[in-house]
Subunit: 322 residues, 2 copies
């Protein structure tokens, strides 16, 4: 910028004005500066700009794994919102590891990201308290925060699971299994609660032997149960669980009804197209980013909690009778 200034015979403040499109520069001066910029191949150094202004022009996003379609859909939606404002997106994968979550979060905050969006792996976010008080908006996605009050965007986990189970009950199923991850995981716990609630409303209880983790393995175990205790239907709590169960069911002697939580590519192309509880990860990412920008625009109201709805998509696997 100093070189441009001396080439155009102006001060660096005037160069700064031209580079940033600020008003108050005569057309003649602006043209001279523009020519010098082009001639020298000048490009603004945004690191220096960030240091002075205190804002990096970047959003930080921490997810479990970018290679998982659910999270990459979120990342893409967040990127689109950031990009509209000329901001960039910094993404980190924490692999369900609270230590990595924390390390990544602090690393991004040291970069002075304008806001931090986080799908938390840990269950204690008090380490973020100093940042929250320092005016960096933090938004939680998919899972709630612990120990700090912050904007949050969740799915209707319990409602979606309930809808799936109610659908299976309507087909006449009596024994409906639940295949999910450990209910320590927030979303798995909520979906299990929805499953239980649907059964309770129907006057049934959920036998412990029908509630399982480790999709592929436990589906085989369920199929090996004696007739009468064997489930005729199952709710799979996420896309990985569903795919694991489908692999195990491929060799099943008798058909088993299946509803999966989360839609997935090619669900409609399998031999028996898969009925799913669908939602929009794109909406989750977009809404979270918009909440962050609202805070940056000065909204200092109480933390906001938004819920993304779920809907049943009927394709075939959930309509198999008992």
């Amino acid at each position: 910028m100093r070189d441009v200034a001396s080439a155009a015979d102006v001060s660096i403040k005037t160069v700064s004005r031209v580079v940033n499109g600020e008003p108050g520069v005569s057309a003649v001066t602006a043209a001279r500066v523009g020519a010098a910029i082009a001639h020298l191949g000048f490009a603004r150094n945004d690191v220096a700009r960030s240091l002075r202004s205190g804002r990096a022009g970047a959003l930080g996003l921490i997810i479990e794994d970018v290679a998982n379609p659910f999270y990459s859909a979120i990342a893409r939606a967040v990127e689109d919102v950031a990009s509209e404002r000329g901001h960039i997106l910094i993404t980190g994968s924490c692999e369900e590891d609270p230590t990595r979550e924390r390390r990544l979060a602090l690393r991004l905050l040291r970069r002075m990201v304008d806001a931090l969006l986080i799908v938390p792996a840990g269950s204690d976010h008090r380490y973020l308290l100093p940042e929250l008080s320092i005016d960096t908006p933090i938004v939680f996605l998919d899972r709630p925060s612990h120990g700090v009050a912050a904007d949050t965007v969740l799915l209707d986990n319990a409602g979606g699971a309930r809808t799936g189970v109610e659908h299976l009950l309507r087909q006449g199923h009596e024994r409906i299994a639940f295949i999910g991850d450990s209910s320590d995981l927030y979303t798995a716990g909520e979906r299990l609660a929805g499953y239980r609630a649907a059964l309770a409303d129907a006057g049934r209880e959920a036998p412990d032997e029908l509630i399982r983790a480790h999709a592929a393995h436990s589906t085989q175990a369920l199929l090996a149960l004696p007739r009468g205790r064997r489930p005729t239907a199952m709710l799979c709590a996420n896309n990985r669980n569903t795919i694991g169960a489908l692999r195990a069911l491929r060799d099943a002697p008798a058909p088993v009804a299946l509803v999966g939580f989360d839609d997935f590519e090619l669900a409609d192309m399998l031999a028996t197209p898969v009925t799913v509880v669908r939602h929009s990860p794109e909406d989750m990412g977009r809404i979270a980013a918009e909440l962050a920008y609202r805070r940056l625009a000065g909204d200092a109201g109480r933390p906001v909690h938004r819920t993304i709805p779920c809907e049943l998509v009927i394709r075939g696997s959930g309509e198999v009778g008992p």
Copy 2:
């Protein structure tokens, strides 16, 4: 840092030494500084650090779309390599738009990324020449650069396509279609060349009417050809083309053999499991990132070109006879 220094009654240089684990600080002093850091909740400002050192501690990655599994696998591999070095990853999706590619590239370079990895959408990269001469390593992935010499990591596109077609020829197919995107796209063009080469080696030519873009639509058109001109097999040039063709083939009266370029999730779970030409996008991302770090470590040798191999995975759809 200044506050820490005065709290610990040392200079900021000493605080800097402690924060960065540099040697030459007595244990007593280090402990006093450490206590002040903990007490004040100090965290280093990495933007200031980057400005002074000239390095952001970040890798920039430009891809077509993070939500596409091929690219998210690359992004994840790059992130893992960057993360080992304490670096972060900034990702941008350019949607096959040369203007967005350029805008994103310049935006990342203004942030002083240590290196830029790019899956190019455009066909003129001379706009990067000033940066290359300024010692920012740039690595091209999946498609070659134009007008600048740079490290490049490509798939064995032609070889992979040739392998797929040779496999279909061995099954006795005489009329093998090619379903791909416009051959303006580098990878599509290379795969088409491999297809042609395999047919030429077998003493056959590729009739123009069997070479098509727009997978779903043109698969239907091919099926509507009169017997004798109708293909009995097809090579699909990428994962999107394959899925499009599979949707169209679902209602086909007679089975058609199919080999797809790119593996994809659930390929083995479809009614007829899909034979594919498989490769490793993870290797592509990892190798590209390693090349970038080798340059940063001082390697100033000639641009390197690496090729990722392809292999045929036999699953069923490619073994359907004519």
